[in-house]
Protein backbone atom coordinates (compact mmCIF):
# COMPACT_ATOMS: atom_id res chain seq x y z
CA UNK A 1 0.00 0.00 0.00
CA UNK A 2 1.37 3.37 -0.98
CA UNK A 3 0.31 6.54 0.74
CA UNK A 4 0.80 9.78 -1.13
CA UNK A 5 1.15 12.58 1.31
CA UNK A 6 2.47 16.06 0.76
CA UNK A 7 4.79 15.66 3.69
CA UNK A 8 5.77 12.23 4.89
CA UNK A 9 6.42 13.69 8.32
CA UNK A 10 2.81 14.80 8.61
CA UNK A 11 1.95 11.21 9.49
CA UNK A 12 3.26 12.07 12.92
CA UNK A 13 1.79 15.21 14.43
CA UNK A 14 4.84 16.39 16.34
CA UNK A 15 7.85 18.02 14.77
CA UNK A 16 11.13 19.23 16.20
CA UNK A 17 12.69 22.51 15.11
CA UNK A 18 15.76 24.46 16.01
CA UNK A 19 15.54 28.26 15.98
CA UNK A 20 17.98 30.22 13.88
CA UNK A 21 18.09 34.01 13.93
CA UNK A 22 16.96 36.68 16.33
CA UNK A 23 13.68 38.02 15.04
CA UNK A 24 11.77 36.23 17.83
CA UNK A 25 14.01 37.52 20.62
CA UNK A 26 13.49 37.60 23.53
CA UNK A 27 10.74 34.95 23.31
CA UNK A 28 12.84 32.53 21.32
CA UNK A 29 16.57 32.67 21.07
CA UNK A 30 18.85 31.23 18.42
CA UNK A 31 19.49 27.57 19.21
CA UNK A 32 16.23 27.05 21.10
CA UNK A 33 14.53 23.73 20.35
CA UNK A 34 10.83 23.75 19.63
CA UNK A 35 8.26 21.01 19.71
CA UNK A 36 5.60 21.81 17.14
CA UNK A 37 2.09 20.42 16.90
CA UNK A 38 1.32 19.96 13.24
CA UNK A 39 -2.24 18.94 13.98
CA UNK A 40 -3.04 22.07 15.98
CA UNK A 41 -4.91 23.80 13.20
CA UNK A 42 -6.78 20.89 11.69
CA UNK A 43 -9.90 21.82 13.61
CA UNK A 44 -9.21 25.28 14.97
CA UNK A 45 -7.90 28.46 13.43
CA UNK A 46 -4.68 30.16 14.42
CA UNK A 47 -5.25 32.76 17.10
CA UNK A 48 -3.50 36.06 17.63
CA UNK A 49 -0.56 35.45 19.92
CA UNK A 50 0.12 31.92 18.72
CA UNK A 51 3.69 31.21 17.72
CA UNK A 52 3.68 29.20 14.53
CA UNK A 53 6.09 27.61 12.12
CA UNK A 54 5.28 28.27 8.51
CA UNK A 55 6.69 27.94 5.06
CA UNK A 56 8.35 31.09 3.77
CA UNK A 57 5.87 32.43 1.18
CA UNK A 58 8.79 33.54 -0.99
CA UNK A 59 10.86 30.41 -0.62
CA UNK A 60 8.77 27.40 0.21
CA UNK A 61 11.68 25.19 1.18
CA UNK A 62 12.45 27.49 4.09
CA UNK A 63 10.62 27.26 7.36
CA UNK A 64 10.03 30.38 9.45
CA UNK A 65 8.90 30.86 13.01
CA UNK A 66 6.67 33.86 13.68
CA UNK A 67 3.89 35.12 15.88
CA UNK A 68 0.33 35.44 14.61
CA UNK A 69 -0.78 39.06 15.04
CA UNK A 70 -4.27 38.98 13.67
CA UNK A 71 -6.58 37.38 11.17
CA UNK A 72 -7.97 39.62 8.45
CA UNK A 73 -11.54 40.67 9.10
CA UNK A 74 -14.10 38.44 7.40
CA UNK A 75 -11.47 35.90 6.47
CA UNK A 76 -13.78 32.94 6.60
CA UNK A 77 -12.75 31.42 3.25
CA UNK A 78 -10.00 29.16 4.57
CA UNK A 79 -8.33 32.47 5.02
CA UNK A 80 -4.97 33.76 5.87
CA UNK A 81 -3.32 35.27 8.86
CA UNK A 82 -0.80 37.97 9.64
CA UNK A 83 2.48 37.05 11.25
CA UNK A 84 5.40 39.05 12.56
CA UNK A 85 8.59 38.63 14.55
CA UNK A 86 8.80 39.51 18.25
CA UNK A 87 12.03 41.44 18.28
CA UNK A 88 11.28 45.16 18.57
CA UNK A 89 14.82 46.05 17.53
CA UNK A 90 14.19 44.50 14.17
CA UNK A 91 10.89 46.25 13.69
CA UNK A 92 12.23 49.28 11.88
CA UNK A 93 13.37 47.11 9.05
CA UNK A 94 10.98 44.25 9.16
CA UNK A 95 8.19 44.35 6.74
CA UNK A 96 5.21 42.38 7.88
CA UNK A 97 5.05 39.10 6.06
CA UNK A 98 1.33 38.82 6.19
CA UNK A 99 -1.15 37.91 5.10
CA UNK A 100 0.13 34.39 4.87
CA UNK A 101 -2.15 31.74 3.37
CA UNK A 102 -3.27 29.31 6.06
CA UNK A 103 -1.95 26.42 3.98
CA UNK A 104 1.61 27.55 4.60
CA UNK A 105 1.29 27.22 8.33
CA UNK A 106 2.87 23.96 9.38
CA UNK A 107 1.90 23.97 13.01
CA UNK A 108 1.79 25.62 16.37
CA UNK A 109 4.77 25.85 18.67
CA UNK A 110 3.90 23.79 21.71
CA UNK A 111 6.91 23.98 23.91
CA UNK A 112 10.56 24.77 24.06
CA UNK A 113 12.88 22.04 25.22
Amino acid sequence: MKLRLPLKASLFPLGRFRVEGESMCPTLRPGDRLLVNRAAYLLTRPRPGDIVVLRDPDERARVLVKRVTHLPAGGSNGGSCFVVGDNPDASRDSRRLGPVPRGLILGKVWLRY
Binding site: R16, F17, R33, D56, R92, S94
Partner: protein, 152 residues
Protein backbone atom coordinates in the same frame (compact mmCIF):
# COMPACT_ATOMS: atom_id res chain seq x y z
CA UNK B 1 8.39 15.40 33.92
CA UNK B 2 9.52 18.36 31.86
CA UNK B 3 13.07 17.24 32.44
CA UNK B 4 12.43 13.73 31.14
CA UNK B 5 10.58 15.03 28.09
CA UNK B 6 13.24 17.57 27.42
CA UNK B 7 16.12 15.12 27.66
CA UNK B 8 14.28 12.54 25.53
CA UNK B 9 13.72 15.15 22.85
CA UNK B 10 17.32 16.26 23.06
CA UNK B 11 18.37 12.65 22.68
CA UNK B 12 16.17 12.38 19.59
CA UNK B 13 17.84 15.53 18.25
CA UNK B 14 21.19 13.81 18.48
CA UNK B 15 19.87 10.79 16.58
CA UNK B 16 18.19 12.91 13.93
CA UNK B 17 18.79 16.65 13.95
CA UNK B 18 15.73 18.90 14.12
CA UNK B 19 14.68 20.99 11.13
CA UNK B 20 15.61 24.66 11.10
CA UNK B 21 12.97 27.29 11.79
CA UNK B 22 14.24 30.65 10.63
CA UNK B 23 13.62 33.60 12.88
CA UNK B 24 15.31 36.00 10.56
CA UNK B 25 13.78 39.32 9.68
CA UNK B 26 11.51 39.34 6.72
CA UNK B 27 13.93 41.52 4.87
CA UNK B 28 17.61 41.53 5.71
CA UNK B 29 17.91 43.50 8.88
CA UNK B 30 20.81 44.58 10.96
CA UNK B 31 22.37 46.18 7.93
CA UNK B 32 23.70 49.29 9.54
CA UNK B 33 26.73 51.14 8.30
CA UNK B 34 28.22 54.52 9.16
CA UNK B 35 29.45 54.91 5.56
CA UNK B 36 26.45 56.89 4.26
CA UNK B 37 26.87 59.43 7.07
CA UNK B 38 30.58 59.70 6.32
CA UNK B 39 29.97 60.22 2.61
CA UNK B 40 27.37 62.88 3.42
CA UNK B 41 29.81 64.69 5.75
CA UNK B 42 32.50 64.57 3.04
CA UNK B 43 30.01 66.00 0.57
CA UNK B 44 29.29 68.90 2.93
CA UNK B 45 33.02 69.67 3.09
CA UNK B 46 33.27 69.53 -0.69
CA UNK B 47 30.33 71.90 -1.14
CA UNK B 48 31.72 74.39 1.37
CA UNK B 49 34.98 74.23 -0.57
CA UNK B 50 33.24 74.79 -3.91
CA UNK B 51 31.21 77.72 -2.60
CA UNK B 52 34.32 79.28 -1.14
CA UNK B 53 36.28 78.78 -4.36
CA UNK B 54 33.58 80.40 -6.42
CA UNK B 55 34.80 83.90 -5.53
CA UNK B 56 32.96 87.11 -6.29
CA UNK B 57 30.13 87.33 -8.85
CA UNK B 58 31.04 88.70 -12.27
CA UNK B 59 30.30 92.32 -13.16
CA UNK B 60 27.80 91.78 -15.95
CA UNK B 61 24.26 90.58 -15.37
CA UNK B 62 24.66 87.23 -17.09
CA UNK B 63 27.76 86.31 -15.11
CA UNK B 64 26.07 87.43 -11.89
CA UNK B 65 23.09 85.21 -12.61
CA UNK B 66 25.34 82.28 -13.38
CA UNK B 67 27.16 82.90 -10.12
CA UNK B 68 23.94 83.07 -8.11
CA UNK B 69 22.72 79.91 -9.73
CA UNK B 70 25.95 78.10 -8.93
CA UNK B 71 25.89 79.21 -5.29
CA UNK B 72 22.28 78.10 -5.05
CA UNK B 73 23.11 74.67 -6.44
CA UNK B 74 26.08 74.09 -4.16
CA UNK B 75 24.07 75.31 -1.19
CA UNK B 76 21.21 72.99 -2.04
CA UNK B 77 23.54 69.98 -2.19
CA UNK B 78 25.25 71.07 1.04
CA UNK B 79 21.93 71.29 2.88
CA UNK B 80 20.67 68.02 1.44
CA UNK B 81 23.74 66.15 2.52
CA UNK B 82 23.84 67.72 5.96
CA UNK B 83 20.26 66.48 6.32
CA UNK B 84 21.14 63.01 4.99
CA UNK B 85 24.01 62.93 7.45
CA UNK B 86 21.66 63.77 10.31
CA UNK B 87 19.16 61.15 9.24
CA UNK B 88 21.82 58.45 8.94
CA UNK B 89 23.23 59.36 12.35
CA UNK B 90 19.80 59.18 13.96
CA UNK B 91 19.26 55.70 12.50
CA UNK B 92 22.52 54.52 14.01
CA UNK B 93 21.76 56.24 17.29
CA UNK B 94 18.21 55.04 17.78
CA UNK B 95 18.24 51.69 15.98
CA UNK B 96 21.73 50.31 15.96
CA UNK B 97 23.24 51.27 19.30
CA UNK B 98 21.84 49.43 22.29
CA UNK B 99 21.77 50.37 25.97
CA UNK B 100 24.63 48.00 26.75
CA UNK B 101 26.88 49.92 24.33
CA UNK B 102 26.73 52.77 26.83
CA UNK B 103 29.06 50.94 29.17
CA UNK B 104 31.72 50.87 26.44
CA UNK B 105 30.95 54.39 25.19
CA UNK B 106 29.66 56.48 28.11
CA UNK B 107 29.74 59.59 25.87
CA UNK B 108 27.63 57.93 23.15
CA UNK B 109 24.56 60.15 23.59
CA UNK B 110 26.60 63.32 23.82
CA UNK B 111 28.59 62.39 20.71
CA UNK B 112 25.46 61.78 18.66
CA UNK B 113 23.71 64.86 20.00
CA UNK B 114 26.62 67.13 19.14
CA UNK B 115 27.07 65.51 15.73
CA UNK B 116 23.38 66.05 14.95
CA UNK B 117 23.71 69.70 16.00
CA UNK B 118 26.73 70.04 13.71
CA UNK B 119 24.55 68.87 10.83
CA UNK B 120 22.23 71.79 11.52
CA UNK B 121 25.11 74.23 11.78
CA UNK B 122 26.37 73.10 8.41
CA UNK B 123 22.98 73.66 6.89
CA UNK B 124 22.89 77.22 8.19
CA UNK B 125 26.42 78.30 7.39
CA UNK B 126 29.20 78.10 4.85
CA UNK B 127 31.86 77.31 7.40
CA UNK B 128 34.78 75.02 6.70
CA UNK B 129 35.55 74.63 10.38
CA UNK B 130 32.03 73.41 11.10
CA UNK B 131 32.25 71.04 8.14
CA UNK B 132 35.54 69.61 9.41
CA UNK B 133 34.09 69.25 12.90
CA UNK B 134 31.16 67.35 11.46
CA UNK B 135 33.46 64.98 9.61
CA UNK B 136 35.50 64.40 12.77
CA UNK B 137 32.33 63.70 14.78
CA UNK B 138 31.00 61.27 12.18
CA UNK B 139 34.36 59.53 11.95
CA UNK B 140 34.37 59.14 15.72
CA UNK B 141 30.91 57.55 15.54
CA UNK B 142 32.09 55.25 12.75
CA UNK B 143 34.99 54.24 14.97
CA UNK B 144 32.59 53.40 17.79
CA UNK B 145 30.41 51.48 15.37
CA UNK B 146 33.24 49.31 14.09
CA UNK B 147 34.46 48.70 17.62
CA UNK B 148 31.10 47.08 18.43
CA UNK B 149 31.63 44.71 15.50
CA UNK B 150 34.87 43.36 16.86
CA UNK B 151 34.62 40.10 18.76
CA UNK B 152 34.65 40.76 22.48
Amino acid sequence: MKGVLSSSLRFLDRVSPPATAHAHCDIPCGIYDPKPAQIAADTVIRMVQLITDLGAPGSDAIAAKAHTSQVARYTLVKEEHAQICKKELLILWSDYFKPDHLSTFPDLHDTFWKAAKLCSRNKQNVDMQAAQELKAAVDRIAEMFWKTKQPA
